[in-house]
Amino acid sequence: MSLRVGVVTFPGSLDDRDAARAVRIAGGEAVSLWHGDADLKKVDAVILPGGFSYGDYLRCGAIARFAPVMNSVVDRANAGMPVLGICNGFQILCESHLLPGALTRNDSLHFMCRDQRLRIENTSSSWTSDFMAGQEIVIPLKNGEGGYVADERTLDALEAEGRVVARYLDMNPNGSRREIAGICNERGNVVGLMPHPEHAVESLTGPTTDGIPFFTSVLKSLVNA
């Protein structure tokens, strides 16, 4: 039986359909989860998709963090379940303190949508094991508040522990500290990513198919687990 990957829909989630499509293309079963429902429907992993949960009013991810589903996600994540937060999902993970730091307004002050080159820095996380170390990929980036910030100590720790999952190449699109595009927790099961791998799973609709390994990684890691 294929593995079940939950995709949470919050009010204002936008890329939930895309995340589900990506899971299917990678060979998994996408299960839709509802923000108001603490039941994770026995999924093996969870994706918090991109979008503007609650309009991103107040602060990106700030309100979604308190949704009933998040209590379950936090518990299971602490117990080792793989969780991927993309864009708004990354912001929610930071707001819920599953990941350190925060995401702030792009230094350009503009929303930016572009095909972004990245380097995969960590291939041991649940969501990046299918990449080769140092592999360079191009996937869409689209955000208004994607500047990753954290205090120096945290940044140094992230670097030292190899928890920077992906870094921006060519240009820093949003003023992220140390060109950080994505990070993971100590255990490597929780990953936050500002760019959108789910928009790079079909050559027809994406700039590349470089996003697929994020999803095949988790499926394999679950099988091997």
Binding site: P11, G12, L14, D15, R17, D18, R21, G51, F52, Y54, G55, D56, Y57, H110, F111, M112, C113, R114, P140, K142, G144, H196, E198, H199, E202, L204, T205, G206
Partner: protein, 736 residues
Amino acid sequence: MSIDTVATAEISPEHSQPFAELGLKHDEYQQIRDILGRRPTSSELAMYSVMWSEHCSYKSSKVHLRQFGEKAPKTDVLLVGIGENAGVVDIGDGWAVTFKVESHNHPSYVEPYQGAATGIGGIVRDIMSMGARPLAVMDPLRFGPADAPDTKRVLPGIVAGIGGYGNCLGLPNIGGEIVFDASYSGNPLVNALCVGAMKHEDIHLASAKGVGNLVVLYGARTGGDGIGGVSVLASETFSDGGPTKRPSVQVGDPFMEKLLIEATLEVLQAGLVEGIQDLGGAGISCATSELASNGEGGMHVWLDRVLLRDETLSPEEILMSESQERMCAIVRPDRLVEFMERCAKWEVEAVVIGEVNATGRLTVDWHGERIVDVPPRTVAHEGPVYERPYHRPPWMDALQADTTDHLERPSSAEELKATLLSMIAAPNLASKSWVTSQYDRYVLGNTVLAQPEDAGMIRIDEVTGLGVSLATDCNGRFAKLDPYAGAQLALSEAYRNVAASGAKPLAVTNCLNFGSPEDPEVMWQFAEATRGLADGCLQLGTPVTGGNVSFYNQTGDRPILPTPVVGVLGVISDVARRTSITWGAAGDYIYLLGDTKDEFGGSEWANHVHGHLGGLPPKVDLDRERALGEVLVAGSMDSIFVAAHDVSDGGAAQVLVEMALRAGTGATIAVPTALDPFVFMFSESAGRAVVVVRPIDAGRLAALCEKTGVPLTAIGAVANDDNLVFADLFTVSLGD
């Protein structure tokens, strides 16, 4: 606060009413009194005044718009025609597509960000109200000169507003236009297009069917937004100093709109809706009167049940309010509970405000008192119709006589190169990525083509690959030189762009942006443009499915360039065979399809280099356009093309530069011996495209052109470096 009821109206015929302040002419006011056999109540006056306004009643344009129906080409693809919120087109496999472009020009001038944002919101609700899931948006924009202070004030806000609303809504932006011209200073044009899809059986209409069915208002609460003039009435009904202050500007709430979309799609899918209508201009007045007159003909409304954001609103204001993010549904009583539950799931407020009946009257009560009792048709559909006087402006002869012949042309290689470099940097021709990079083009995962391609293309059916392609175009300078031809050139350019992407053009929408209809010269431009568009659509076999008219676009008595923006929708059986503008391997052949003539009237060269506008626009040949379309579509089906790009603003040179930049590789171009290099590079003759094929496919292309009678000229080959070489003339490196 004293209410003006029907009862009081009957016994106070002499009571004088501020109809003029509400924009009603004296005879229009008299007409209302005749319809009702008494003076209208202030609420009825509010309804009639807004529904009979130019914006809602199309009283000046109706007589001309009729041609779109009368001259409609024979077609079986039109499932819903003009008159509904948006037309619906059959694209096969049981799929239907609806699309429409609308203007939000003035609000965007007053408050650029919110004006543009609410423009997107409004057109998206129009598409939803047909039962479709909105799939993508486009934004044709016009501004004053790029460096004008006014442009610097409005442009960033307008772009941020379109992005801010569309991105938050989760609709990809797949195209649009950004054109600069002095005539738009102080009067920018913000047109917004939305396209949506549904299965045939899910098509819904704005009609209140079924006596006893309930009228449900859902979405955002009603506030005092956009009620402008009516406060005259409001203040009348206030014994004290008058109502609290009313908003000068409407603020959009894209998050609420997103919830509204999801909730609406759910209640439609669950079959809980008999009829549905968006609330746009004229708010509840428009929704209730249109629903009623399209349905059983009667409706009763308990206006005091409307959920308010501002408790001080008077009934007149509630009827008129243009608060955003609201919809109105007709629901069977036995489905109401489930309807309410679905709304609650999405945290969307909903309330029953009325009931459908067969009285043939629209009646409205306010706390038990009857404040409206009218025949709905007279409000919604039987408003005044004007045959505005119009005449060809006397200055047209001089304008057309002032041809481009006397303009100095570059001749030496150096001059040609300098002209090309200056042209590609011109605001109207330079890359627009500084704008489009602020728009999400990926969300929903079905965007196959978007900016800077010729057309935006989205996949409708993920299994079969069935999709649609859309382009909007209009060269206002052409329309000024000859409105009839200008409208047809806008049509043919959009048609060509869609065909170039590999899709078969099917149907048309339009947004007619003009000056004041009370100016006979403007009215002539409007009449000519509509006639040209109607004739053109007949000839190309693409029916007009809907659109919008925006009048009074002028600063003082200086009207904008006549700007009939035309949107063409095409269908493609499998988006996998789309044609992009990106050429491939070195050695591939580059051809020019169509005839290039010495045509520079209204061209970007005359405009940018000489600031000149005069003469005649390029000749229109719609049969040629159609034949070219056949080649472009057939070539895509037989996968002959590596790339294709339509030729328009800036001419062939501009096209070649765009293709080279897109691909990141240059080409070697040989000017056809029959052509003067300047004409070859910069003429804007219509009916042309540049195509790229693999050497082995050259024969098939030749045969195809042979069959369709489309002129084919070999002009060069793709190179393996980044130099664009115009043989025996000059070389430009993509680097600089």
